[in-house]
């Protein structure tokens, strides 16, 4: 088994053995494959990209072609132990509605996203006057599927407004390394934010 990307490894560590998981935007299905194999987890991945769906099938996971913007109405309340949303929240039409849906179908949720207040992105905008691009945000402004950027602070304000409880937060700095400065000033030095959330 090839090692997971650092951010996905943290997500995997948050999943307890035998849990039922729903991975929203599961991509090639590698995270779920890892969870099935190393955590004996069960569950489904949702994906909209045809290539991702085929790769997920090749990886032997249950993948359902779905548009997250249509909600999660295929799933009952409390159907999952964990609902996972990695690097996808910025690409949906209504992140607030999706967060609420996540915590309707799952007892707890895991959300990871690129922090738009990361200092390198601020530099792009403030000094160069250009829309930011980075490893975590590799699209030009006119072609990006990322339509709802947020910062660490924005996300926490939204959780507060939606009555979502933050169980745990982790922040990774550049190249998904473990944080040094980001521990002190996460919203400035954190490139990727990872949260474990539940209903308050």
């Amino acid at each position: 088994m090839s090692p997971l990307r650092e951010d996905l490894q943290i997500v995997a560590d948050w999943v307890a053995p035998g849990q039922r998981v729903l991975d929203l935007g599961c991509g090639d299905g590698m995270l779920l494959r890892h969870l099935f194999d190393s955590r004996q987890a069960t569950g489904y991945g949702l994906e909209i990209d045809p290539e991702g769906i085929t790769q997920s099938i090749a990886n032997g996971i249950n993948v359902i072609e779905s548009d997250l913007d249509q909600g999660l109405s295929d799933f009952e309340d409390d159907a999952f132990d964990q609902v996972i949303l990695t690097q996808t929240i910025q690409a949906v039409q209504r992140p607030d509605a999706l967060l609420q849906e996540m915590l309707r179908v799952g007892r707890t949720g895991i959300v990871t996203f690129p922090n738009f207040a990361y200092y390198r992105l601020r530099y792009h905008l403030a000094v160069r006057g250009r829309m930011p691009m980075s490893d975590a945000l590799s699209y030009a402004w006119y072609e990006t599927p990322n339509i709802h950027f947020c910062t660490i602070r924005d996300f926490e304000v939204l959780c507060d407004e939606l009555g979502i409880h933050i169980l745990e937060r982790r922040v990774l700095s550049h190249d998904l390394k473990r944080p040094v400065l980001a521990r002190v000033m996460p919203n400035l030095f954190g490139e990727v934010a990872l949260y474990r959330i539940c209903r308050a």
Partner: protein, 385 residues
């Protein structure tokens, strides 16, 4: 028409049908009993030593057991040539593929054109109605006959997909995977309406003779042709028809003919489809098959709760739909998926963008083939094929 000089390398090549007779009586869902029956079938590929690589293919409304390859003297291959053969989704280098003609059919399995042993004449209108559950029973007996305890997969499109679903419900231990393509958990009112128009076209043809047309030396050719023409309209999308025919006409480009003969190309196509169907299909079989479709509703046994109907299923499911299919639209497939999700069944679902309408399941649509192939490669790996 002759068989092509050289066959494509990804075809199973020349095939010959087989048949088996079962003396054991068969109780039908309708309450009738067939004292015995014959199943015509074809197989492709080789059954492995532990008999674990067999795939059952179920045919749709007008299909039969000739699913792939070429019959001697025929130009056209079997109906699922796009998906069965070396390197194709149902890869005959790895799988042993079996397809039988459903009872009630008219291509070798016992049906209205067969001789009724009690009268010594063709059954005709006396052939009892058959259901998807009845077909599953007969296919299971074929599996017994072939020494296949468990299918690696049962696969089908449209009415064939419904059979795969029914297999998973009725005989959960005997299949590892159910491949349900362009199907539905039940017909909509609109679907039944189309079937009813088709049936009325046949039954109101003066040559129908209350179904005893063979005894009268007649055939409801006009009615059957109309039924098929109507069906064809519903199997294609508006876009597919537009792309294929548009408003193309025969005759002078700028002058209408002001007559009722074939003028628009789409008229020519439909008439050709209708007429060639009359040559190869029996009207009573068409009536039976459409009723089997109308009656299919596995959730009826559980008060309309499809999830409950599927609760005992043990197969893993691959469900596929096509965006332009308005006969069995993606929403119908999603209903199946949702019922499986409700009881935590293993299921994957792909909604293929395709312009062909319902007929897309018969076509070599690249993404469809890719998804289907990828899924079946995993199945093959599981059974060591």
């Amino acid at each position: 028409m002759n068989t092509p000089q050289s066959l494509p390398s990804d075809s199973v090549g020349y095939v010959e049908p087989a048949s088996v007779h079962f003396d054991e009586a068969l109780s039908l869902e309708s309450g009738h009993t067939l004292s015995g029956y014959t199943l015509a079938y074809e197989t492709y590929g080789t059954l492995n030593a532990d008999r674990s690589n067999a795939v059952l293919v179920c045919h749709a409304l007008s299909g039969d057991h000739h699913a792939a390859g070429y019959r001697e003297g025929e130009r056209k291959p079997g109906w699922w040539e796009a998906c069965i053969g070396p390197g194709k989704p149902l890869d005959t280098n790895r799988f042993f593929v079996v397809c039988s003609n459903n009872i009630g059919g008219c291509h070798g399995s016992t049906g209205p054109t067969s001789i009724n042993p009690t009268t010594g004449e063709a059954y005709g209108a006396d052939f009892p109605m058959v259901t998807v559950r009845d077909w599953v029973k007969t296919q299971a007996r074929l599996a017994d006959h072939l020494g296949i305890e468990t299918w690696a997969a049962v696969a089908g499109g449209s009415l064939g997909g419904m059979q795969a679903l029914q297999w998973a419900i009725d005989l959960p231990e005997r299949l590892a995977h159910a491949i349900v393509i362009a199907a539905a958990p039940r017909l909509s009112a609109q679907n039944i309406a189309f079937n009813e128009v088709a049936r009325q076209a046949i039954r109101s043809d003066p040559a129908f003779h209350e179904g005893r047309y063979a005894a009268a030396g007649d055939q409801p050719a006009t009615g059957l042709m109309l039924a098929r023409m109507l069906g064809h309209i519903t199997y294609l999308s508006e876009a597919a028809m537009g792309a294929k025919f548009g408003r193309e006409r025969r005759g002078e480009p700028n002058d209408y003919g002001f007559h009722y003969d074939v003028e628009f190309e789409v008229e020519s196509y439909l008439r050709h489809q209708g007429q060639s169907f009359v040559d190869r299909f029996d009207a009573n079989t068409y009536l039976l098959m459409t009723k089997a479709l109308d009656y299919f509703d596995p959730a009826a046994a559980t008060g309309g709760d499809l999830a409950a109907a599927l609760a005992g299923a043990k197969a893993r499911f691959m469900v596929t739909s096509f965006t332009s299919d308005w006969r069995f639209p993606p929403s119908a497939s999603r209903e199946i998926v949702r019922a499986l999700l409700d009881t935590n069944k293993p299921v994957s679902y792909a909604e293929i963008r395709a312009d062909h309408g319902h007929d897309a399941f018969l076509m070599p649509v690249p993404r469809y083939r890719s998804v289907f192939t990828t899924y079946m490669q995993r199945v093959a790996a599981e059974v060591g094929a």
